[in-house]
């Protein structure tokens, strides 16, 4: 593996992050040089210098090998999380070293969990940086670096393969150069449209931009302590629900829909399953809440249940209600959604609807084979036959996901957390959802957890964001050659 090539491309990602820090410093400046100005400017300078240094020596590589691609992606994410801590650390306040690391990892992995007890106390520049980190993380640090670097030639393809999950890669029927264009158009376009819609719905420009960035990155970082519940507006909730849902759909499918191609969201089996699942579970939860008397009217019950279902499924984690007070049925269903999450090829995390669909089809086919032992049954998704390698990978991933989640739960439990908190915190972190249940519910946060558990949470977030195997590869870096 050519270490100098890896360092060079990580340096490019750092420059991109430095640009966003500078943008946040400008926001701070426009807000009357608030207390975040100096930390953001300083962090921007240090990050830029760190990113520029490798460029003095390392030349661009025309051909990046798959192992180098992995190292660049994982390395970029880790380094981004480290430099993302700088503004928080320098600013101080509630940000100790562990807290700053937690907030940075939570942003870049688009988890959206927080250790802040009073979000509104943060200056605007810092709030903007939080949302910006979520936005950058949303589509992947590396993909953005590739967009702004026009001279990477063939090396683009390898990085794209690593960044997008395996299934998403299989579903993409475009060339890698087109993938980047699609990502840019869909992601930036969606953010701009959501910002404008939120502004029209009554938010300020600042809140519109930050909530839109957070929603499109499916992160769930809000600028208010009460999250979206602060605005108490069905229109705003509706806009965010649409934005979150679209962000959790395969970007290639969205692009195909926009450009009038055949493989659009209306024909996609995965998207149909994803939306169908959300609609059915929203209705079940709203009935459950109404029957339990949690909400007095059907409309109110449906409004809150639909928002929470969309927020959890898309791994955003915005909140309008305290789900800890909901019925056991609602809680179980929301935990199920925290595991399944959105579609592959989107900014959401978790196990992905695609994998669940394939797993369900494998089970169905297994039953058929039991009935007709000589039958040759193939597993298809969206009319495409999935080969044995993909099926095996899907099942391996599901097993690995369950094992990591259980391991995470055990670590939380060792430190005395109850079963609900331990399990949902592990699921929430590995799926990059944000809120769990119990002590880490939608209206509380991770602030009171001991430092070791905060580190455990960040590890789970990184493992989940890099689709488990992307992270595990890093452990065998010495044998890469």
């Amino acid at each position: 593996m050519r270490v100098h090539v890896v360092i060079r491309y990580i340096g490019m990602v750092l420059q991109f992050i430095a640009a966003f820090m500078l943008l946040s410093a400008i926001v701070s400046m426009l807000n009357g040089y608030d207390s975040a100005y100096y930390p953001l400017l300083l962090s921007s300078f240090l990050t830029a210098l760190l990113g520029l240094f490798p460029l003095i020596f390392a030349d661009k590589a025309e051909d990046i090998k798959i192992k180098e691609g992995y190292a660049i992606v994982v390395g970029s994410w880790l380094v981004a999380c480290v430099v993302g801590m700088f503004p928080y650390l320098i600013w101080g306040g509630e940000f100790t070293a562990i807290n700053a690391w937690f907030e940075s990892v939570s942003g870049f992995t688009t988890t959206g969990s927080s250790i802040l007890n009073d979000i509104e106390f943060l200056p605007r520049g810092m709030l903007f940086w939080r949302s910006a980190s979520a936005w950058i993380g949303g589509v992947g640090v590396v993909m953005f670096a590739l967009v702004i670097l026009p001279s990477m030639g063939r090396s683009r393809h390898m990085l794209s393969n690593v960044e997008l999950s395996t299934i998403a890669k299989d579903n993409f029927h475009y060339r890698s150069r087109v993938i980047i264009r699609i990502l840019t158009m869909v992601y930036v376009g969606l953010t701009v449209i959501t910002t404008l819609a939120l502004k029209v719905a009554g938010m300020t420009w600042f809140d519109s931009v930050t909530q839109a960035m957070s929603a499109c990155g499916t992160c769930g970082f809000s600028t208010k302590n009460l999250s979206i519940g602060f605005w108490d507006s069905p229109v705003i909730e509706g806009i965010l629900m649409v934005a979150m849902t679209l962000s959790a759909i395969h970007f290639g499918v969205l692009y195909a829909t926009m450009t009038g191609r055949r493989n659009n969201i209306f024909r996609s089996e995965v998207v149909r399953t994803f939306i169908g699942m959300m609609v059915i579970i929203s209705l079940v939860i709203s009935f459950s809440l109404l029957a339990n008397g949690t909400y007095s009217s059907w409309g109110e019950s449906l409004r809150h249940s639909a928002f929470q279902v969309v927020s959890i499924t898309t791994t955003s984690g915005f909140a309008t209600a305290d789900t800890n007070t909901w019925t056991p049925l609602a809680v179980i269903l929301l935990i199920f959604l925290s595991v399944v999450c959105g579609c592959a090829g989107s900014t959401s995390g978790g196990m992905k609807v695609d994998r669940m669909l394939i797993a369900a089809k494998i089970i169905r086919n297994r039953m058929r084979v039991q009935l007709h032992p000589n039958a040759v049954i193939r597993t298809k998704v969206d009319g495409v036959v999935q080969d044995e390698g993909v099926l095996s990978l899907v099942l391996t991933f599901i097993v690995a996901y369950i094992m990591v989640a259980l391991l995470g739960t055990i670590v939380y439990a060792i430190f005395g957390l109850d079963l609900t908190t331990s399990f949902t915190a592990a699921i929430s972190c590995i799926s990059n959802v944000g809120p769990g249940f119990g002590e880490v519910g939608s209206m509380s946060n991770f602030a009171d957890l001991p430092a070791v558990l905060k580190l455990n949470s960040t590890l789970l977030m990184l493992v989940g964001r890099l689709e488990i195997f992307g992270f595990i590869q890093l452990l065998f870096i010495r044998s890469w050659g």
Partner: protein, 279 residues
């Protein structure tokens, strides 16, 4: 335009690479130093403010105590040791000065305390000081002597001595005022608590950027070492080894050693030289 931009920022020689790298390191070093200086200046300024405030308060409390003790000395001399009217006149100026001094100091202290979280304590201090001043002034004015004389004239009343007046009237007030001044000193010290907390916050803010800058510098130095080794040291060692092999064993010189800039030129020139001798 883009070509010109590219030309300016293209680094394609060892000298330029080293120069830019050292410039970057120097810049970061200077930057770290500047941050340290700036932040330490801020900490120093905050510390100075706290120390100054503390010093002013201690001095004020000292002034009050000096004035009170001066007044007490006069009162002891007059009421306990002498008690004669003639002696009073000689001490009156000293007593008036101490009264004025105590009055001035307490009003200053009151103004300071009004700005803190203990305005009620300021009022108590002023009232107490006023009371002790009034007693001292009344003694100097002869009111106490007149009252004793009237009591002596009245056979129905027991006339107190000036010593008794001091013990029963003045001394409790003196002690109460002294106690209030002590309270003022501790109260003011406690009121500096938020400022001290701020100082701790500022100190942390001062250390963090410097610490981060140093970490960045360490990372850059490690990268510098890596790149120097990778791009310059290793190729030179390989060229040297290959040339040695050629000279010792007549093995063909390795023309495919991966290098660039002037080192690549060196490799090519050695290869040319060898080819020339071979022919």
């Amino acid at each position: 335009m883009i070509k010109l931009f590219k030309k300016i920022f293209t680094i394609n020689s060892v000298t330029r690479r080293m120069r830019v790298a050292f410039m970057s390191l120097l810049l970061l070093l200077f930057f770290s130093g500047a941050i340290s200086l700036l932040e330490l200046e801020r900490v120093s300024q905050d510390t100075e403010e706290i120390l100054l405030a503390s010093k002013e308060n201690v001095e004020l409390a000292g002034d009050m105590l000096t004035a009170l003790n001066e007044q007490n000395d006069v009162m002891i001399t007059l009421a306990v040791a002498s008690g004669k009217w003639e002696v009073i006149k000689s001490y009156s100026q000293r007593c008036e000065e101490s009264v004025a001094q105590l009055s001035h100091s307490t009003s200053l202290a009151q103004r300071k305390m009004k700005r803190t979280e203990t305005p009620m304590a300021a009022d108590t201090l002023v009232m107490s000081a006023n009371r002790v001043n009034e007693l001292a002034v009344s003694y100097i004015n002869g009111d106490v002597h007149r009252s004793i004389a009237m009591a002596l004239a009245d056979s129905t009343r027991v006339a107190p001595t000036t010593h008794e007046w001091y013990v029963n009237e003045y001394k409790p007030e003196y002690e109460h005022t002294a106690e209030q001044i002590t309270k003022y000193m501790t109260g003011v010290h406690n009121s500096l608590g938020p400022e001290v907390n701020n100082l701790s916050h500022t100190a942390r803010r001062a250390v963090t950027p410097v610490f981060i800058s140093l970490i960045v510098m360490v990372v850059i130095v490690i990268m510098f070492y890596f790149f120097i080794t990778h791009y310059f040291v290793r190729p030179i060692l390989r060229i040297n080894r290959s040339l040695g092999d050629y000279l010792t064993y007549k093995m063909p010189f390795d023309e495919g050693i991966g290098c660039r800039d002037e080192i690549a030129t060196l490799r090519d020139r050695i290869a040319q030289l060898i080819n020339k001798f071979t022919k």
